[in-house]
Amino acid sequence: MPKRPDVRKVLVIGSGPIIIGQAAEFDYAGTQACRALREEGVEVVLVNSNPATIMTDLSVADTVYLEPLTVSFLAYILGKERPDGVLATLGGQMGLNLASELGRSGVLTDLGIPLLGTPLSAIKMAEDREDFRNLMIELHHPIPKSRTVTTVEEGLAFANDIGYPVILRPAYTLGGTGGGFAHSAEELLVRLPHALALSPITQVLVEESIAGCKEVEYEVIRDGAGNTIIVCNMENLDPVGVHTGDSIVVAPSQTLTDYEYQMLRSAAIDIVSHLGVEGGCNVQFALHPDGRYWVIEVNPRVSRSSALASKATGYPIARIVSKIALGLTLPEIANPVTEDTTAAFEPALDYIVVKIPRWPFDKFPGADRVLGTQMKATGEVMAIDRTFPGGLQKAVRSLEMRRTGLNDPQLASLPPEAVWEGCITATDERLFYLAEGLRRHFRVEDMAEKTSIDRWFLDGIAEIIRWEEWLETQAGEWVDEAWKIKQLGFSDARIAELTGSTPAAVRAQRLALGVRPGYKMVDTCAGEFPARTPYYYAAYEPSREAVPLTGPKVLVIGSGPIRIGQGIEFDAASVYALNALKRLGYQAIMVNNNPETVSTDFNASDRLYFEPITLEDVLNIVDWEQPLGVVVQFGGQTAINLSEALTRNGVNIIGTGLEGLSRAEDRELFDALLGELGIKRPPGHTAIAAPQAIAAARDIGYPVLVRPSFVLGGRAMRIIEDQGQLEQYLSTSTEMGEGQPLLIDRYMSGLELEVDAVSDGDRVIIPAVMEHVERAGVHSGDSVAVLPPVRASRQVIEQVVDIATRLCRGLKVKGLLNVQFVAVNNDVYVIEANPRSSRTVPFVIKATGVPLVDLAMEASLTGRMDDRWGQGLLQPPEHFSVKMPVFSFAKLGQVDAILGPEMKSTGEVMGIDHDFSSALYKALIAGGFRVPAGGKILATIADADKAEALPYLRELAQLGYRIYATAGTLALLSSRGIPARPVYKIRERRPHLVDMIREGQFDLVINTISVGGDQEREGFLIRRAAVEQGILCFTSLDTVRAALEALRDRHRQTFSVHPLNEWLHVGQVR
């Protein structure tokens, strides 16, 4: 079947901001899709609201719209661009939902634009619970039996019919409240009445339990001619019941017999064929160890799992799916990895892949860590090795949780019952409890029985523990078994811990013995055919398959798993760096372990090492490749943290040298530099022990801002009002310690500003100044930022530029420097300076068109920068760009949605327009703001903020919005003649304000924090209810003030959509 000749221009829908469950994997998929389509001569129009992506770079698509991903904005764009087709299955659930809505609303029909790839009918069939159920019944694929019941008798009869245990799922209760297992009729009689009572509509779904089964996934691709292949299957270590995104996953399956593998493979193909998918599809099964299976769900699109499958096999799913959307069939598409064979085959692996999720619980200590059907991980790591213990230990190292192996000393002191509990309950720490249990010689059979984890996995962990014990007792002889130990994935650091040595000594011993890894290729075919893929992993086997690249080459260190504070922005910067290196004539080598991202795509670099980012693993690569140097400034704190040790090991750091890096990071050195340069900063001190910290705070004067040094995203950063609070903070903080000083600064409330400068040590280019909407105190990553500034005075901006310039020179920056400022009146203070790529770099590139990373790479490598950009602060763009944070609170139970110095956002969106208010309005819309004309706003304002809030509420009322308030605020509003309606506090009567939020009564919640007492608790409940209901909740009056500006103008403005190409005057201007 030839390519459809009628499709010459395609609109690709991106997935929008990064949220838990919809992350960097869609940048990877979308980028691959755009490239694949253009390869076929198709013009690509891309729409995505997320500036921190590679897919929104003008080199990836012909035309890029950074506009909100809503049906209305898409309709504007479709009307303007009139593409020949829309490709939506690469934009995650967001893309799929938009495609469905565009179809349902008639937009596609009216414009005569077809949806390419998987048809809407298939999407509907897969997504609609009833339709899908009926299809499975028709095809005789088992699904868990279930029935919706409204009485206890009905439930009892059904449960007796299908057998126990059963799961009870009350309808319309949040977070599954009241749900759970009933193991017997007796238990059902206790629990079902309770569950029915909790459901507002007295309905409970009684479902056959498949908990404890193995969870197995198949990644399927089907073309328009009906050819269907499996790219890969994957087995979850965690049994059914834990979201696959929160499970430890291996590929391929390890404990399935050939019969089981083929049975599920055939079922997956049957289902995908009957759905009529034309593209990628994921099918999830529960497999009972006795061989019975159930279909759990299907996703008729590329997904996180398909990104993992792509990276696990080398098979580029998104690319192939995009070609299928153009009408090509699998046998007509070449396998880009081997180049000689066809895409119509199934990859054969000769290694094991281990994926471990990265959870945000280090940032949210109060969050509920129990894992279930709601995904909680923000990112993941993947490791490739030849044995399961090897892959597992590599993956653990890649998590960057300060673990050298399966060790968690905190568990050693627990009583056995607590260890058993930790093994049985699925949490982020279960793996370490399992290791602890095996360390205590719990029987593997018992553990398998109680956890439903297949014993094969437990045997693998037990092997690690056996060798740990051996290392502890035979410390002197470890070198005799060095190959074996390294094959099992033990890091030098872990061997050093167990044998009482140091990592450096272990490394030296092993190098003396010639024990170093070889690098093996990921080739899709287990060595059967020659492959040209430049994609490798380390294995401690004698063979040396990878031959070092010839010519000048540079190693770029990636940013590892996506976590709050170190998100996709750093992967985007790494990819920009790879491209810049290639343009400058260097071979670009990448090391990273994140399977979701563009940087680990098979053709992003000249060579990819899929490895943990630790000193040991990076040094091994450096030893092997002997690059000219290593680039650390784009991989976030992950990469920067290695710079000192790399330098100590004689590795050349390309870019700002270690001296500059330390002078910026080390408090005392930085203070000295500022003193030298005559730059002001809020008074502050460094403390390494509690008494010192208390003295420092007294000296500086409260309120103070405390935070550990060397962390990203303001981990454990806090504003402290008095000594009592400080003492409490110190008693709970685990971050302070030797070599980990605590920073204590005077908290200054003012206007926050930020720049990303690039310098060759002399010349400094500042593309723009960003101004934060929220006052200092809200983490910069959680602030709304606008570029160029709208409030800062000229004097302030001049000072900002002057300080940044002097800092670049003072730190001898070669590359990027991010500086954050606070302006109080007209005095500008430096808050911090980071000599590396920052979270805002991709935003600045999109907003200004200045190729910051290219300039940084040029400065780093050659010591000079392209003259054509001039120097100093560049001419501000004529348009306004607004960056708005996006949060995932709804996914994380018990996490407070209040903003503060600790970063909480998971992603960002961008709005761009001629004026600030329109740009801001677009950013708000892209970020989920939905307030109709005359919409209802709940305002609960702390006493301290009431005066400040009054004019805003007054204007909101004047604009026709309906304000709801509790007694205190209501009285004040009424006394000032501002119309408002009463709501009850929780204590007063029902329905109270939280009930009303849950009923969907409000369109926006404004809640500022009250400290202490019932109000503090009530505030928390209000914010939780809002985020769980999917309503935007503003907790800063600054955000309200800005939003008001956008709302004030929305009646007057006509909205228009423009591609980034137009804003930046780059090509394609029509």
């Binding site: 292949i229 017999t257 083929q262 046998p331 064979t341 085959f345 692996l349 014993r455 287990a526 060595g527």
Partner: protein, 360 residues
């Protein structure tokens, strides 16, 4: 105990001996890229005389158990793995890989860099090698290499006596050149009554079974050495609906005047794509063969039914008039994908239509 796999050209791979460690093994070395089904592979009689390298590094995870066997016991000469699981994990229990090999007096080598070994075979082509304890007497090894003789392989693996699997559908005679159980299972699953006969069966004996159709099974070795078997093959395709599988396909090719030729390192795995020219669709197939049939001399009587999408070799013929279908791959799977099961449906249809024609 340390063991060494020594190739004719002197190349060696070291590891730890598993299974019956006292044995020495000599044979042709091939690699198989299937990720599941190690027991099915070892018990496939087509691996007779071969030392099988499993490219998937973790073997024995789910142990071994009777239902997975493709014949009564493992036929491969030896097996080479990266790692074998000491404890099997399988519902209802299973035997460990090592213990299984021991029980059947098979030797294996574990701890080998099987990827490097595979790349070596890919470069050097199929070669002979000997596996023994490291440091074994060199002369002894040379003699063992010298003594490798695969010319009678089919006669070694065929059933000594005929046996029956009775159902009430059409009666199919399976000529056993080394047939896998899955073939008989596929026939039986379609209610066909099966008689499995030794490869030395004569045309007269076949007549006596009054079959409704014939299956020429898979089997080991170089097909060009089995000229003795061709008269019966010719008789079958002249008189009965016939399905040739793997060696059966090659023998039909030879019987019809084509030649066979060795592939550099063969097709052994579970992921090879074929195009079925009749349906226009791709099949992912189970493969295990070292030889292929040249197409040209057959094209006046046969259509090419299946082509390998990787190297474009012919993977199946369909007679233009007669009910004869041949496939180079393993439609019965075991191990491998079930995509080709419909070919057995097609065979059944061929048998039925031929029967209707005969009885009309």
């Amino acid at each position: 105990m340390k063991g060494t796999l020594l190739f004719e050209d002197g190349t060696r791979f070291d590891g730890t001996l598993i299974g019956d460690t006292g044995r020495m093994a000599a044979g042709e070395v091939v690699f198989n890229t299937a990720m599941t089904g190690y027991q099915e592979i070892l018990t496939d009689p087509s691996y007779y005389g071969q030392i099988v390298v499993l490219t998937y590094p973790l073997i024995g995870n789910y142990g071994t158990f009777p239902e997975a066997a493709e014949s009564l016991f493992p036929w491969a000469e030896a097996v080479i793995v990266k790692d074998d699981a000491p404890v099997p994990s399988h519902f209802g229990g299973a035997e460990s890989f090592d213990s299984y090999l021991k029980r059947y007096h098979k030797v294996g080598l574990s701890g080998v860099d099987t990827r490097e070994l595979t790349l070596y075979i890919r470069g050097a082509g199929t070669q002979h090698a000997v596996l023994a304890e490291s440091g074994h007497d060199a002369l002894d090894l040379a003699q063992a290499l010298e003594a490798i003789d695969l010319s009678r392989s089919v006669y070694e693996v065929t059933t000594p006596e005929p046996y029956h699997i009775v159902h009430d559908g059409p009666h199919i005679v399976v000529i056993d050149y080394g047939a896998k159980n899955s073939i008989m299972e596929q026939l039986a699953a379609r209610n066909m009554s099966v008689t499995v006969v030794p490869c030395t069966v004569t045309p007269g004996e076949i007549e006596a079974y009054r079959p409704d159709g014939i299956v020429l099974s898979n089997g080991p070795g170089d097909p060009s050495l089995f000229g003795d078997l061709l008269p019966t093959v010719k008789h079958c395709i002249a008189h009965y609906p016939t399905l040739g599988i793997c060696l059966g396909h090659q023998l039909i090719g030879l019987a019809e005047g084509a030649r066979t030729y060795p592939l550099k390192f063969g097709h052994h795995g579970a992921n090879h794509p074929l195009m079925d020219h009749q349906t226009g669709k791709v099949l992912i197939t189970s493969q295990n063969h070292g030889y292929a049939v040249e197409a040209e001399p057959l094209l006046d009587r046969y259509r090419i039914r299946l082509t390998n999408l990787h190297d474009q070799t012919v993977e199946g013929f369909q007679h233009r008039e007669k009910p004869v279908l041949t496939v180079q791959h393993h439609p019965e799977a075991g191990p491998g994908p079930w995509d080709s099961h419909y070919l057995f449906d097609e065979f059944l249809t061929m048998v039925r239509e031929w029967g209707d024609g005969n009885h009309a």
